[in-house]
């Protein structure tokens, strides 16, 4: 009986954790953990998920960026995932935070949703995400106007999954 009780308690806690981790919709935590639940991780087992991975609610036509420090001697993989309501492609760029040079633009890479690279020099970069399309909310200028936004048609979650590993040695 005691074992049964313990099993029941453990089961209940596990079920609660599972339901919490799936709560990545807008109702509960607004895209919380979306990148963890929806972005495909690399098949390379040496990659570890970076703490800077994040997700957010985006509007059609919106651009937003997040900063990441990358270190010499490491490989990085940046991959994106997004809610279907935002369309079948989104744009992302990797920009040098100091010089504003665009280091990568997925528009020149068939709108790829992921990018892997090796760092030769530590630096700070921005990952800039742009959702194609437009929304009244991103275009509104007049304070007096009401801004009509059909949230379910114009907003969705975007996840940015960042993975990293020590650059493997090449050759003997």
């Amino acid at each position: 009986m005691k074992v049964f009780k313990q099993l029941f308690t453990v089961g209940f806690v596990l079920m609660s954790l599972v339901s919490f981790s799936q709560a990545n919709d807008y109702k509960v935590r607004k895209c919380f953990g979306y990148q963890r639940d929806s972005c495909k991780v690399s098949q390379n087992i040496y990659y570890k998920v970076h703490d800077a991975s994040r997700s957010a609610l985006f509007l059609k036509g919106q651009t937003s960026k997040t900063v990441l420090t990358i270190y010499n001697g490491r490989d990085y993989r940046v991959s994106l995932c997004w809610a279907p309501v935002l369309g079948n492609r989104i744009l992302f760029k990797i920009i040098d935070n100091e010089t504003d040079n665009v280091l990568y633009d997925n528009a020149n890479d068939e709108f790829s949703y992921d990018f892997e690279f090796t760092v030769a020099q530590s630096r700070e970069i921005e990952i800039q995400v742009t959702i194609p399309g437009s929304s009244d909310l991103t275009q509104a200028t007049n304070e007096d106007e009401l801004i009509f936004v059909e949230k379910d048609k114009e907003m969705g979650c975007v996840g940015v999954l960042i993975e990293h590993m020590i650059t493997p040695t090449k050759g003997f």
Binding site: D25, Y26, K27, K30, R54, A56, L57, F58, L59, Q62, T63, S64, K65, T66, V129, L137, A140, N142, E143, D144, E145, L146, I147, F148, V149, E150, K151, D152, M155
Partner: protein, 154 residues
């Protein structure tokens, strides 16, 4: 004398009383918003009332910066979903008029400043025939919902 008698009957008739009863919290059963991934909560300004052809109903309301609103209007079938809905600012300016939007009865919006407005609801004019005027009487519901504006972007 006869006219007064008719008026007395209309005002105090059980039919009239029943209509008022019928419309009580009409919006709760009739105004069903579209299912959404976003949670709105009902605002206390939601109302139901009896509506007659050509009637204008005004509902004062305060829009608050940082709150998103969803308004669902629902009317008796007799009105054929043609209800004019205007949001008028305090200075008299129209800030929304659904007659330019095919008499849309569902709207979802955000506002950029806190302001007092009036929701104006206008029932269609009565049908005027050769010999008589047909007035339509029915229930009207206004469901007002709100949610705190969501942050977007990183």
């Amino acid at each position: 004398m006869f006219k007064k008698y008719i008026l007395f009957i209309i005002i105090f008739s059980p039919f009239q009383y029943n209509f008022a009863q019928e419309c009580f919290e009409y919006y709760k059963s009739a105004c069903i918003p579209k299912s959404s991934n976003f949670i709105y909560t009902e605002n206390n300004s939601s109302v139901s009332f009896q509506f007659t052809s050509g009637e204008l109903k005004e509902i004062p309301f305060t829009l608050i910066l940082g709150i998103d609103y969803r308004i669902t209007l629902c009317a008796d079938k007799k009105f054929e979903d043609i209800i004019k809905f205007i949001i008028r600012a305090k200075d008299g300016n129209e800030i929304y008029n659904n007659s330019q939007q095919n008499f849309n009865l569902n709207l979802e919006f955000a506002c950029r400043k806190t302001q007092d407005v009036t929701f104006e609801l206008i029932a269609p004019e009565p049908n005027i025939g050769n010999n008589d005027t047909v007035l339509i009487d029915g229930c009207m519901g206004v469901l007002v919902e709100e949610m705190v504006s969501v942050k977007t972007g990183f």
